[in-house]
C-alpha cells in the first residue's frame, strides 16, 4: 500500500474530513437502528399521524369521485382560467418529485457521499409525489374514462395523437420519470431487503422480504454488475431529471399566453423543482430524524449542505423572477408588460408577493451558518419554500390566464371546496404513502451508509483513526 504523500497528509491535518456517520458507530449499529424502525412496534405517533393523513386521503378521494360523477363544474375553473388548481397541483407535485432522483443521480455522479443517508427517503418521496401529480392530469380531463386518449395509440376513429404536442411529450416525460425512478429506487433497495430478510424473526416477513430481495447474496460478482447498473442509471437519470420539468414547462412556454411564452421557463422550472424538492425532503426528514433518533446518520452536516442547496436554487429562482420582469419590460410587448405588472400589482398581488417572499427572501437566511443549524429555522424556511413553490405555480398559471388579451374576456378565479379538499387530499395521500414506507421498508440505504464508513475502505488502517492521533503525536 502506497503511503500518502506529504501534501495530502498536510491537507488532511488542516481540514480533516468530517465523518458521515457520527460517534464511530459500527455496521451492526446501522443495521440495528435502521432495520429496527421496521421491526419494532409502530410508535403511537405513527398511528395517530396515519389516521389523520389517511382521513384526508379518503376525503380527497371522495372529492375526486364527486368530480368524476358530476363533472369539472364542481371546480372553480372557468373561461379564461381553464387551468387552475388542477395544473398548479400537478406541477407542484412533479416539482417535489425532483429532489429524490436528483440526490440519487446527480449527487452520485458527483461522488457526494453524504447523499447516502437521505437518498432512500428522498427517492420514495419522489415516487409518492409523482403519484400525486399523476392524479391531476387524469382527473382534469373531466371525462376520466377518456384518459387513455393520452396514450400513443389511435382512438376508435383511428386518429393518432400529435407527437409534436408538448402535452404528448409530458405524458412520455412523466411516465418515463416515474418508471425510471421506481427502478432506480428498487435497485438500491434490493441489498437492504436482503438485510431485512436475514434479520426477519417472523416467517411471513422472511418470505416476503426474501421474495422482494430476489435472493441477493452480496457477492462481489453481483456487486460488480449492480454498481455498473447503478452508475448507468444515475447517468441516464441525470438528463432525465432535468428534462422532466423542462418538458412540463414546455406545456406553457410553447403557448402564446403572455407570462407563459418565455424561453427562460425550462431552467427556471428545473431550479424551482429542485428547490421545492429539497424543501420537502427537509420537511419530512427533520421530524423523522428526531422521532427515530437518526441524528448520527442524518447529521447537521447533511442539513447544512441541503440548506446551502436551498439557498442556491432559491437564488436562481429569484434571478429568474427578476429576469422575467426585466425581459417583459425590455421586450416592449404591451401584453407581456401588462402580464407582469398585473402579476405583482393586479388583484392577485398577494399571491405573487407571497411567492417572492417565501422563495427568494426567506432562503437568504441560510447565508448564516447558525441558521442552517437551527432546527426551527430550517423547518420554517422549508415550509415557506413548500408554500412558496405552490404559489409560484398558482401565480404563473392563474394570474397569466385570468387577464390575457381582451379585457372583455377577463375573469377572476375562485377555488371551490372541492378544489381545496382535492389538494389537501393529495397531501394526505402523499403523507400516508410516506408513513407506510417508513413502516415497512428501511428508510435509510443501509448498504450505502456502511459503504461510506471509514472501515469500509479496503485500505483502511486504524492508524489514521482520529482517536489514535494523539498516540502518534506522543510517539513523534
Amino acid at each position: 500500500m502506497a503511503e500518502p504523500d506529504a501534501s495530502t497528509v498536510a491537507f488532511e491535518e488542516r481540514m480533516p474530513r468530517r465523518p458521515l456517520v457520527l460517534n464511530n458507530h459500527s455496521m451492526a449499529w446501522i443495521s440495528d437502528r435502521i432495520a429496527g424502525i421496521v421491526q419494532n412496534k409502530a410508535p403511537l405517533w405513527w398511528w395517530i399521524t396515519i389516521s389523520i393523513t389517511g382521513s384526508f386521503a379518503a376525503f380527497g378521494t371522495f372529492c375526486m369521485l364527486y368530480l368524476l360523477f358530476t363533472g369539472v363544474g364542481v371546480w372553480g375553473n372557468n373561461v379564461p382560467v381553464g387551468w387552475a388548481w388542477d395544473i398548479t397541483n400537478f406541477v407542484f407535485w412533479i416539482g417535489i418529485g425532483h429532489a429524490g432522483t436528483l440526490i440519487s443521480a446527480i449527487l452520485h455522479l458527483c461522488r457526494q457521499k453524504w447523499r447516502t443517508s437521505i437518498n432512500r427517503a428522498a427517492e420514495a418521496m419522489t415516487l409518492f409525489a409523482v403519484i400525486c401529480a399523476a392524479i391531476f392530469p387524469g382527473i382534469h380531463v373531466g371525462r376520466m374514462w377518456m384518459a387513455w386518449f393520452l396514450a400513443p395509440i389511435p382512438n376508435p376513429n383511428w386518429i393518432w395523437p400529435n407527437f409534436r404536442s408538448p402535452l404528448m411529450w409530458d405524458v412520455f416525460a412523466v411516465s418515463t420519470y416515474f418508471t425510471v425512478s421506481v427502478l432506480f429506487w428498487y435497485l438500491g433497495l434490493v441489498p437492504d431487503l436482503a438485510t431485512m430478510r436475514d434479520r426477519a424473526k417472523v416467517k411471513v416477513s422472511r418470505i416476503v422480504y426474501g421474495i422482494l430481495a430476489f435472493g441477493w447474496r452480496g457477492g462481489n460478482r453481483q456487486w460488480r454488475h449492480y454498481e455498473m447498473a447503478y452508475l448507468i442509471l444515475a447517468g441516464i437519470s441525470t438528463p432525465l431529471v432535468l428534462s422532466v420539468h423542462s418538458t412540463v414547462s414546455f406545456d406553457f412556454a410553447t403557448s402564446v399566453v403572455p407570462g407563459w411564452h418565455t424561453t427562460i421557463f425550462p431552467p427556471y422550472f428545473v431550479a424551482g423543482a429542485i428547490f421545492g424538492g429539497f424543501a420537502m425532503v427537509l420537511t419530512l426528514m427533520l421530524p423523522a430524524r428526531s422521532l427515530y433518533k437518526l441524528q448520527d446518520v442524518f447529521t447537521w452536516d447533511h442539513i447544512d449542505v441541503m440548506c446551502k442547496l436551498l439557498l442556491l436554487t432559491g437564488s436562481i429562482v429569484g434571478y429568474a423572477y427578476c429576469m422575467e420582469f426585466f425581459v417583459a419590460f425590455y421586450g416592449a410587448n404591451p401584453f407581456e408588460r401588462f402580464a407582469f405588472l398585473n402579476r405583482y400589482f393586479g388583484p392577485y398581488w398577494w399571491a405573487s408577493w407571497t411567492m417572492f417572499t417565501c422563495n427568494v427572501i426567506m432562503p437568504q437566511l441560510f447565508w448564516v451558518r447558525a441558521f442552517r443549524r437551527n432546527w426551527a429555522i430550517v423547518f420554517f424556511v422549508s415550509m415557506c419554500a413548500n408554500a412558496g413553490m405552490w404559489f409560484e405555480r398558482f401565480v404563473i398559471f392563474v394570474i397569466s390566464l385570468h387577464r390575457d388579451f381582451l379585457p372583455s374576456a377577463w375573469r377572476m378565479y375562485y377555488p371551490t371546496w372541492v378544489d381545496v379538499f382535492t389538494f389537501i387530499g393529495t397531501i394526505g395521500i402523499f403523507l400516508t404513502l410516506f408513513l407506510l414506507f417508513i413502516r415497512f421498508l428501511p428508510m435509510v440505504a443501509m448498504s450505502e451508509v456502511k459503504g461510506v464508513l471509514p472501515e469500509a475502505d479496503p485500505h483502511y488502517h486504524p492508524r489514521t483513526e482520529p482517536e489514535s492521533e494523539s498516540r502518534e503525536e506522543a510517539h513523534a
Binding site: W169, T179, T195, D198, R217, Q222, F250
Partner: protein
C-alpha cells in the same frame, strides 16, 4: 463427515474474515493462487475488489446501450409511422420531414432513457442469475450476517483447483475464520 452429508455433493468451502481490509487481502491471495469459481460476500460493494479478484469491468454497459438504442428506434418508428403514413397531421403548417425533427426529439429521448433503465434493472439480475429462491450459501447459518456486518469468502467445488482438504487449509492459512464445507441443496 457424517454419512448423510457424504451423500450430498460438496458445494464449496466458506470462510469468514474480520474486516473489509482482511477480505481484500484474502481475495488477492485467492486470485494469485489461480482459483476461478469463487466469490467474496460483503454487506456493501468494496472499492477496488474487482481488481483484487482479477475481474474486469462489468459488460452490462454494452447491453444497456443496446436497450437504449432499441428505445430510440422504437420512438422513431412510433412517431414517424403514424405521423407520416397512418394519420398525417399538419401542425403549424409544418409537414413531417427531416426539417421538422426537433419537436419529435423529446419522445425519442424519453424512450431511450426508459428502455435503458429497464435493461439496466433486468440486466443486473439476469447477469447475476437472480432471482432465485435458494442457494447453498443460505444453509450456512452465519451467512445471515453477510447483509449486516460480516465478510465471507467462498470457493466453489466446481473450481478445477478445488480439493476439500487443500482448499480448506488454504483458507485457514490466509486468515479465514470458521472455515466450513457447504453441501449442495437436495
Amino acid at each position: 463427515m457424517s454419512a448423510a452429508a457424504a451423500e450430498r455433493s460438496v458445494f464449496g468451502v466458506i470462510a469468514e474474515f474480520p474486516s473489509a481490509t482482511a477480505l481484500f487481502g484474502a481475495a488477492e491471495k485467492v486470485r494469485d493462487q489461480g482459483y476461478r469459481f469463487w466469490d467474496v460476500h460483503s454487506p456493501f460493494p468494496i472499492h477496488g475488489m474487482n481488481k483484487a479478484m482479477g475481474l474486469g469491468k462489468s459488460t452490462l454497459g454494452y447491453i444497456i446501450f443496446c436497450g437504449g438504442f432499441t428505445g430510440f428506434a422504437t420512438a422513431v418508428l412510433l412517431e414517424f409511422i403514424p405521423s407520416s403514413y397512418l394519420y398525417p397531421l399538419i401542425v403549424h403548417g409544418k409537414p413531417v420531414n427531416f426539417f421538422t425533427v426537433p419537436p419529435f426529439l423529446p419522445i425519442m429521448f424519453e424512450l431511450t432513457v426508459l428502455l435503458s433503465a429497464f435493461t439496466a434493472f433486468f440486466g443486473v439480475f439476469l447477469m447475476n442469475r437472480l432471482p432465485r429462491l435458494h442457494h447453498p450459501l443460505f444453509d450456512f447459518e452465519p451467512f445471515k450476517r453477510v447483509t449486516n456486518d460480516a465478510f465471507f469468502l467462498a470457493i466453489e467445488a466446481v473450481d478445477p483447483k478445488f480439493s476439500e482438504i487443500g482448499t480448506r487449509e488454504f483458507l485457514e492459512e490466509i486468515g479465514g475464520q470458521g472455515v466450513t464445507v457447504l453441501y449442495e441443496n437436495d
